[in-house]
Amino acid sequence: MISYLIKRVFQMVGVLWVVSIIVFTMMSFTGDPTYMMVPLDATEDEIANARMLLGLDKSYIVQYGIFLSNILRGDFGRSFVFRQPAFGLIMERMPATVEMVLAAMALSLVLAIPLGVFAGAYPQKKTSRGIMAGSLLGISLPNFWVGMMLIFILAVQFNLLPSSGRGDTVPVMGINLSIVTMDGFRHIIMPAVTLSFATLAMLLRITRAGMMEVMKQDFIKFARAKGATFKSVLFKHALKNALIPVVTIFGLQLGDLIGFATITEFIFAWPGMGKLLVDSIYMADRPVIVVYLMFVAFLFVVINFAVDIIYTLIDPRIKLR
């Protein structure tokens, strides 16, 4: 276990380092950020002054060196645009995103597993076919369309829910959450539903596929023969064996949504961090882009680690190596 952990940490450092190199290289192709910060009629002196203030007066390699050595001291650099620490900018927007994503993931999990088990256990039933058709819709409808439709129907036509924003928040253990207040809960419904659509459909289909395969195997017949109820066979014997790919996809989706829920945040004016990434790309704000992508890479490593551990809990035959 310890050696496994150490191996993982080394892997992570390697991944983060590669991400930083890739982003730095990519950013050298976009324009000079200085011109995004100064007025159009800035004189050479004013541009030189701005360059110096932003630390862009040094060569690209030197800038990268400074960036690396600062990271070793725990300083992730300052945004060119905001002139604030880049890491702080991301952290201050993260709770909103994580809250929305967790709500969406919980929603999709709660719906996907029972529906998937049902559709996998009774593939011939009309209801199952209906579920599968619906899931195709969930995969193929684009997020922004679903979001706009929800706003149009629930907010504008029927005035049931607020169209955008996060509503009231209260601090829970130092983190501002909106889901615990009534107003905040009303605000989170539409973004979470929008975001859950695709994941729900995907998890459902994978659960069903796994179930259909497992249900054909001999140990299921044996379990039935020894007298276990159908319900317990479905949820105890079959589901557990169909769960590994579900957990894998769940982990990947979780990381993906936290890192790139941009479109949903954009549509619902949700104050998360995805919009920060897009704005930063538009403004060529390299420090934020680098730290953001490194953070997402870190997140994926952590989630994959958690997924590996869950594997061993589901199937004791799997060992961490």
């Binding site: 976009t30 324009g31 000079d32 950020p33 200085t34 011109y35 995004m36 910060m37 100064v38 007025p39 159009l40 009629d41 800035a42 004189t43 050479e44 002196d45 004013e46 002054n49 701005a50 203030l53 645009v81 905001f82 002139r83 604030q84 900018l89 201050e92 927007r93 909103a96 706009m148 706003i151 149009f152 907010a155 504008v156 005035n159 049931l160 829910l161 607020p162 169209s163 955008s164 924003g165 996060r166 928040t169 501002n176 009534m182 107003d183 809960f185 009303r186 954009f266 549509i267 619902f268 004016a269 104050p271 998360g272 919009k275 920060l276 704005d279 790309i281 538009y282 403004m283 060529a284």
Partner: protein, 521 residues
């Protein structure tokens, strides 16, 4: 039986809870309050760190300037109650007495000097470009020397906000950019990044307490969501209404649609150099004024504005709007060079380019309203006089570095120029004055236009401390620029706002929504 009863009971409870959640919460307040949806969150609240629109809007809520720019672009006393010119270079500003900062301090000349000195080392050092030296004659008198006679210093100062020396030194730069404290009509209560910014009225404001006691600004970037937020009543005012929603707002009798021409002039820069980077000919055809005239006459701005801009743009007649210093009454670029394909083709033939030539147009695809479509339309129009225009479209993050002087990759550039200063001088100095002749001039002269005559008028304008004379000289410069077709002005974009019926909003020419001027009936 019992079980089904329980289930039914549960269902009713759940429905009741959902119903409770879905009823919109209504609030009643005695104090007037307003919610405004902007296109983005403020990047800065420290007025010396940046100048994008939302930040500018915030600066004017928290801070004040020595000279105040009114909604109609007049320049009136602000923190300075009067000013006078002592000699050609020396201005004396008398501060208003008894102006209070939010923390109770009184505004003193030392705060003004501190703000000027600090600005010189900040990112927005251009704000104090024309201040060579500043000193306090007493607590309420500031003397400013300009490096050269500069008739519109007071107009420039309407963009320069005054900080509180003690406060800035106490909290430091980083905190100042999070917790603003000035003499303005509003104070910051809460700022949740990307969600909302709440402001409360500062009742000690020197022009009198604001009517509206509480303002909430919400950044809603997606235009359709902004419209939705107004339709559901979540906000009272939205900025930059999407053009496609204009009819919907107009037909709704609970809402108002407000439009006004902006100050952003879309212009086309033509190359004046001997050889042009993207034209594969030994001599740059655009050196010939006949070719430039042909281009100007081949562009049908009315059609662009009708078809691409949905009528929500105003063809520009000169380089600056009629309110500005340097505008020539009665001169209209569209009258001088009206759309006329026949004449344009004849001019091309006369100049020896009957077969036309090929060049590249550099334009943005995410900076101006429908910029990409406008560029495509221009290419189509110029094709009719034999000029094959290749489009080089790019995002703004690449564009402004790419076209930057010496612009050695560009022949033909579409860009916008904003002149909230109320004076054509800044634009002319940057965009049309010969390059590399004088420091601080010609730094955005992308076509490398160089005219002794034009430069001479600018030199004269920048050598007089009197506004009327400056106006006269700049008007002459305008005439030369129109005659030489230095830039082809296309149109001013239109600003669109939508509000609830009870909101009294008079849009400002400079787009800076200022709650102090807004009222609710």
């Amino acid at each position: 039986m019992i079980r089904s009863f329980k289930l039914g009971y549960c269902a009713i409870t759940v429905l009741a809870v959902i119903g409770l959640m879905l009823t919109p919460a209504g609030t009643m307040a005695a104090d007037k309050e307003i919610k405004i949806a902007l296109t983005s969150d403020a990047v800065h609240v420290d007025p010396q760190q940046g100048n994008e629109l939302t930040s500018n809007i915030m600066f004017n809520h928290f801070y004040d300037t020595l000279v105040r720019r009114t909604a109609a672009l007049d320049f009136v006393p602000g923190l300075a109650e009067s000013w006078e010119l002592k000699d050609e270079l020396t201005w004396v500003f008398k501060l208003r007495k008894g102006v209070k900062f939010h923390n109770g301090d009184e505004l003193k000349a030392s705060d003004v000097l501190f703000s000027i000195e600090r600005c010189k080392t900040q990112l927005m050092s251009n704000l104090v470009r024309y201040i060579a030296e500043a000193k306090a004659l007493d607590d309420y008198t500031v003397q400013i020397k300009t490096p050269q006679p500069y008739a519109v210093l007071h107009m420039d100062l309407s963009e320069f906000h005054i900080l509180n020396e003690k406060y800035v030194k106490e909290v430091g730069d980083e905190q100042l950019n999070l917790k603003p404290m000035g003499t303005g009509p509003y104070q910051l209560v809460e700022w949740v990044k990307e969600d909302h910014m709440t402001l409360k009225a500062f009742d000690g404001y020197y022009l009198g307490p604001p009517e509206i006691k509480k303002v909430t600004f919400r950044p809603i970037t997606n235009p359709a969501t902004r419209t939705a937020a107004l339709l559901t009543g979540e906000v009272d005012i939205i900025q930059d209404l999407a053009v496609r929603d204009a009819d919907r707002i107009k037909s709704n009798d609970k809402l108002n649609l407000i439009t006004r021409p902006s100050l952003l002039n879309i212009v086309l820069a033509l190359d004046y150099r001997e050889k042009s980077p993207t034209i594969d000919l030994p001599v740059n055809p655009m050196k010939d004024v006949r070719v430039r005239e042909a281009i100007a006459r081949a562009i049908d701005v009315d059609t662009i504005d009708r078809v691409i801009m949905n009528g929500l743009a105003t063809p520009s007649d000169q380089y600056v709007p009629s309110s500005h210093i340097g505008y020539v009454d009665g001169l209209d670029f569209r009258q001088v060079y009206p759309f006329d394909l026949e004449k344009a083709n004849a001019l091309m033939k006369e100049a020896g380019y009957a077969d036309g030539f090929t060049m590249t147009l550099d334009a943005t695809n995410n900076r101006y309203v429908n910029d990409q479509q406008v560029a495509q339309a221009l290419a189509g129009m110029l094709a009719k006089i034999g000029i094959t225009v290749q489009l080089n479209l790019m995002p703004k993050s690449n564009f402004f570095g790419y076209i930057r002087v010496p612009s050695d990759k560009s022949s033909f550039i579409m860009s916008g120029w904003d002149t909230p200063s109320g004076d054509a001088g800044g634009m002319y100095n940057s965009m049309m004055y010969s390059r590399d002749k004088k420091k601080g001039y010609g730094q955005a002269n992308r076509g490398a236009y160089a005219s002794e005559e034009f430069d001479a008028w600018i030199d004269k304008a920048d050598a007089t401390p009197r506004v009327e004379e400056r106006d006269k000289f700049l008007q002459e410069a305008t005439k030369v620029a129109v005659r030489d077709i230095v830039l082809i002005p296309v149109h001013y974009e239109q600003d669109l706002y939508a509000t609830k019926k009870n909101v009294d909003l008079k849009p400002r020419v400079d787009k800076f929504i200022w709650t102090y001027e807004i009222d609710i009936k």
